[in-house]
Symmetry: C2
Subunit: 235 residues, 2 copies
Amino acid sequence: LFYWPGIQGRGEFVRLALEDAGAAYVEVGRLPEAVGGGAAGIMQYMTIGSGPKPFAPPYLEHGGLFIGQTANILAYIGPRLDLVPADEPSRITAMQHALTVADLVTEVHDTHHPVASRLHYEDQKPEALKRAAAFIKDRMPKYLGYFERTLVEAGGETMLGGPTSYVDLEMFQVVEGLRYAFPRAMKRIEKTTPRLLALHGRVAKRPRLESYLASDRRLPFNEDGIFRHYPELDV
Amino acid sequence: LFYWPGIQGRGEFVRLALEDAGAAYVEVGRLPEAVGGGAAGIMQYMTIGSGPKPFAPPYLEHGGLFIGQTANILAYIGPRLDLVPADEPSRITAMQHALTVADLVTEVHDTHHPVASRLHYEDQKPEALKRAAAFIKDRMPKYLGYFERTLVEAGGETMLGGPTSYVDLEMFQVVEGLRYAFPRAMKRIEKTTPRLLALHGRVAKRPRLESYLASDRRLPFNEDGIFRHYPELDV
């Protein structure tokens, strides 16, 4: 797995799946730079060798195949880790949900970077205040309400209505991330999503994930990642 | 196919694949409202019936299966329309590129809607000027340069290095859209992407697409869609 070494970010959705399945994997970004790790190492891998390169981390190398884009990685490892049912409709629905999560994640990112990724938050704060207010008022309830309804219509236990899938692990991370970034808004909005919160609680107690979350492999949220806590944005 | 009836938008990537393959399909949004069409019709389909609902258009119904998210629809119809090779690495790479296009499309949308989708462009114009400037300076050359390099490394003819795929059709639409939205910036940047332009030209001349593009099924670009031309943003 190739991802920035200091943040949860988009890579965390992949880490959660690998950890939940007990898969053997190497986080190249967390290896020493001397052996090709670190941020320099993951950047280097994006430019060398033959074959299609990813546009950005995270990406995964498995058996010589490089796979970019978070939802694409999950679609690839899901069946191999028994984290999505084998039938095509389930896989399509799982991918659809993963892409909706990806859209949400991009919108969360843009609450603190509404003008440009290359600028610091402090250089786009007036715009961030406006964008975050709109996100909290309209988008956050819309996404969470959609996930809650989807879960209820699937029977209330899992997002696909069958065994736990990578989509359920994503729901855990969405709740965690929004609670970290927007605790005041989330406290109000999550009252309307009881089944999603119950799912979040069940995922957190899955034995391998519980170990992972308590380990130092689980990086803390911070203000370099995607879910950032700036109190002034949590209106 | 369920998509807004008045715009190209994200639905156009699906239309291009269906049209290129000569597939039989119905655009529900362009049917009269009296028979369940129009914007009202596509919204209605998102709330009725059983099974997973999409978060937003476009979505496709095929054989009772509802499929949301543009890249997910392309991954589903690609093999069925012979618009992606059958091997897994090709499909994964195609999906990776489609998701990178989706990211670009979202960034294009946010050049005119950097604060909130629900507000009019006129109500977020100062922020749009800043975001569009950053997009043109950094992001547009980065995306187009990436696609150009990918194409060159794949042999220079198609994005996957084999027969024409839905990714090539997407490249056509990316060039078309950026030329419409940012003609001045694009005139400068496209000098650095000759292979991408040549691919654009080849796709435009594919017989079924050429007919489609000349027909009234091809909606014109306009300022309700994703690629919008506001001269003040084309710095």
